[in-house]
Each structure stands twice: as C-alpha cells, then as structure tokens.
Amino acid sequence: MNTMEIAKIKRVVKDTQRIKTFILDIDVSAIPGQFVMVWLPDVDEKPMSVSYTSGDMGITILELGDFTRRLCELKVGGKIGIRGPMGRGFKVYGDRLLLVGGGVGMAPLAPLAEDAIKEGKEVTAIVGAITAKELLFVERLKKAGVRVFVSTDDGTAGYKGFTTDVLQELLQKETFDQCFTCGPEIMMFKVLNIAEDKEIPTQASLHRYFKCGIGICGHCVLDGTGLRVCKEGPTFRDKELRKSHEFGYYWRNAAGQKIYFGVKK
C-alpha cells in the first residue's frame, strides 16, 4: 500500500545558493531514479527524486516556486509527509556509464553514480549549471570516484557553455555502454540525439506535472505512447521516448493543457 509516512528532517545541507538537501529520518530503500511525493501540510505535495537512496533518505530541492520556497524554509526537526518510493528507477547493465545532469537534475544521478562505483563500474559525469555556485554534487561525485566534467553557462567553472557541448566533444574520443540524463527537457532531448548518433543506449528521467503520482489520474501521461511518467517512468529508455511526439516539445500543465517548450511544432 502506498500510504503517507510522516518523516522528520534530520539534517539540512545548503548545496548551492538555490539548492538544499534534506536528510530525513526514514529509510525508503529507493532505486536511483525513483521519486517520492513530498507533502507539506496545508501547502502542496510534489514529486522529488530520492537523492540519497540507502540509509536515511534525502531529497534535494531547487527553490523555484511557492512550494519549494516553503520547503526550503524548513529546519531540522520539521515534519513532512512522504509517499513512496514510487515509479521506475534507472536500470544499469553496462560497465562504462556516462551521466549528463543539468542543475537539480543531478539529484537522481548522484546516487546512481555512487552505487555503480561500489559495484566496480567506471562512471563519467558531465555536470552543468548556470554558474559555478549552482553546480550540484560535484564534490560528492569526485569523492565517490567519478570522473567529472563541468560546464557552466557563464563560464565561471569548467567549460563555458552547455553539457551537450561537452558531451559531443567527449563522444568524439570515447564511448560508453550506457548514458543517463536528467535536467531540462530540451537538454535531455539533445543528449538523446547525440547519444543515439553514437549508438549509446540512454535513459532519461522526465519531469511532468504530477497530481496523483500513482498512475490513476492520467495527468502525467505522455502523448504517442500513453505511458504514465509517474508509473512507467519517470525514467524512460530512448526507444520509449522516441515513440512520444511530446518528448522535447511540450508538457501539460495542471489543467492538462499542452505547454510548448519552444515554438509550437
């Protein structure tokens, strides 16, 4: 049963100017890529990737709108409701893994990297952010033994530009068994295209507007496939996403209306 558990905040880490990690007093044993629904009484409930998947669980929040602002105000001892872990996590089978994360998209990728390294795999990560101060989990990855490439939009750290530029360059020289990506959808869309060219199977973790989070309301369903991001996702294989003409082009708001990322196709 998918009931709500009330968890206490044990630790708060300020990762960047706008991102905080909350370590809770419950262990949900999630697979990296799975999410939990986070309830702030009287405010809202939203999906968050599990960023620390074994032992005390953690979530990593980018302050964006009302919900995340209220969440980021919470202190140690604060209580939040947790439903989960839910959805399908990443599936690792190769030995040389490549991760491409943009911004808070690193949240599900970091535990994936740590687990993979523990299992003796070789992990490379491309971590991107707008600016140096917003880079997430770079130290965490390095500590785990991940080879890390960094890019920032403003060039304050690493390559000046996008993760996809670094990716393109890297794939000129090297190849990988699998690629995993999470971040802005436009970025993930490009990552898929680039990796596909090089025949590297890729999994992406999608964001959509979740209501039920459990596969019943239909608000997160992808056009073209009918797949539910909260249930069959949030991680999808490139092949699955290729069947959806929605991926990379639009999402649906709380009303179920299509909202285009760029111009209408």
């Binding site: 049963m1 998918n2 009931t3 709500m4 009330i6 629904m37 309830w39 009484p41 009287d42 405010v43 809202d44 409930e45 939203k46 209580k79 409701g81 439903r83 979740f210 209501k211 039920c212 989070g213 459990i214 596969g215 019943i216 309301c217 239909g218 608000h219 369903v221 992808l222 056009d223 073209g224 496939t225 009918g226 797949l227 539910r228 649906r252 708001n253 709380a254 009303a255 179920g256 209306q257 299509k258």
Partner: protein, 300 residues
Amino acid sequence: MLDIELLGMELKNPLMLASGILGVSGASLKRVALSGGAGAIVTKSIGMTPREGHRNPTFVELDNGYLSAIGLANPGYVEFEEEIDVAKAGNVPIIASVYGFSFREYVEVGRVMEGYGADAIELNLSYPNVGKAGAFYGYSEELAHEVVAEVKKEVNLPVIAKLTAGAGDIVAIAKACEDAGADGITAIGSLRAMKIDIETGRPVLGNKMGGLSGSCIKPIAVRCVYEISREVSIPVIGCGGITTGEDAIEYFMAGANAVQIGTGLLSRGITIFKKVSLEIKEYMEENGYSGIDEIIGLAL
C-alpha cells in the same frame, strides 16, 4: 459471450473505464482501450474552461479505499477535440463526461462533445469536491431533472446521468432523471469523505474533503444500483469498488446493465478489464450461463 448492446452502442464487454481515471488525454484513453481491454471509455469530466483543479495532495490511499480531490482539472472543451480524435483509435465507444456550473454549461459542453464525435454523454451529477458543479445538481430532484431535460433538448446522443449516494434519496433522483429523458443512469460517484493525519493534525487532501472510492464503497453502490434498477426502466451502469469478476457479477445481479471500473486499476493494472472479463467468463461457464443478460437483475 460478454458483448452487449447498450444505448445503441456495441460493447465487446460490459466493462467501462470510469470518468476521471486516466481520462484527461486521448493517448491515455486509447491505451486503456487497446492494452487494457475496456469495452468503452468515459473521458475525464470536461467543462467550458480549462481548470487546474485543487492543490496536491489530490489522491491518498487509505486502508480499504482511496480518497481523491482532483477538483475537475481538465483542459476545457475547446482543447479536448484533439484528445477525442486520438481516443477514437482505441476503437471502442467513447462516452464524454460533462460537468458545468450552470445548466447552460452542461448543454454547451454536451453539444460540443457530440460535434467531436462522442458516442454518448455522461452528465457528472456526482462529483463531491467542487462547490456548484457535479453533486450540487445530483442532490436535488428538481435540478437533476432540469439539467437532464435541458441537455436532452439540444443533444441527440444518449445521455447518461451519473449520480451520487450522498443524495438523501438516490432513487427519487434517478426517477427524476428518467422522467426528464435520461437514457441511462450511472451509480455511483465517489462519496464525500476526508482523512486527517494525526501526526501533523492536518487534513491530508489539499482540498481537505475528497471523494471516497474503492472497495469500501461497493456495498453502498450495489445497494443504489439494486434500488434504482427496481424503479427505472432505463439501463443502469454500476460503479464503485470493482476489482474482480465477482465484484462485477454482484453488480449485474443487482440489476446493472454494465459497470465502470476506476481505482481498481491501481491494484490490478491497466489490464484489469481483460482480467475481469476472463473472471466473468469463467463464472458464466462454470454456472452454465451463455450471456450477460441472463445474470442481470438475478437478485432483484
């Protein structure tokens, strides 16, 4: 063996997807029809303007049921044309669920859905979570009569009224709907309920109140179907807590001509329609029945 004719529609089985369940987009409806095996699909309740609905949590799992308060979130009837188009590829009858904040809105959306090619209209008079829509009309014989009569005047499709057990006397309301020209009755929608989290002392749903679905409402819903079936001569569609073939058969015996399945998808997956179909068939074979009509109303 399971095929039925209902309100002029041919259904390969008498199991429909209930409104509000995976019903907000065409891709979703099509998947439930093709992979799920539903005999017909009912869309999310659609209104005149896009609605974001209530804040989360909009869905909570309880010990023996589910609470939801989506708040009639829907893209509005203008944008829903493409969804119906996509849903048609599911190749089963499409019943468009309609809600309104006035008689006029019910009529207007119903007319437009007819234009989009829906096979029937289900008037949502049962939704317990939004002030002056849904159950507001389903609580009163007069209002229920008027909304059905108004829609019937301008819509040529079969019109089904979906009722709530929250109404003091659901049988009287069903009869009022029949009088007004309704072609069928769906009973029941979810029941107004709530859950308070005792660790925080707060209502869990964003909207505080929500609708109770799932196996816990089945005995109430079966009673409604039984009572209504005895009093009306139009088809009755049962809804509430169906997860197995046995559940569905109980509804047929109570007089239901068809049933809808909602939250049962959670425990048995999207293919619940195929599974329940098989279970009904097994029961019929074991007991020597050759058509669904032989068990309809057996307990009356």
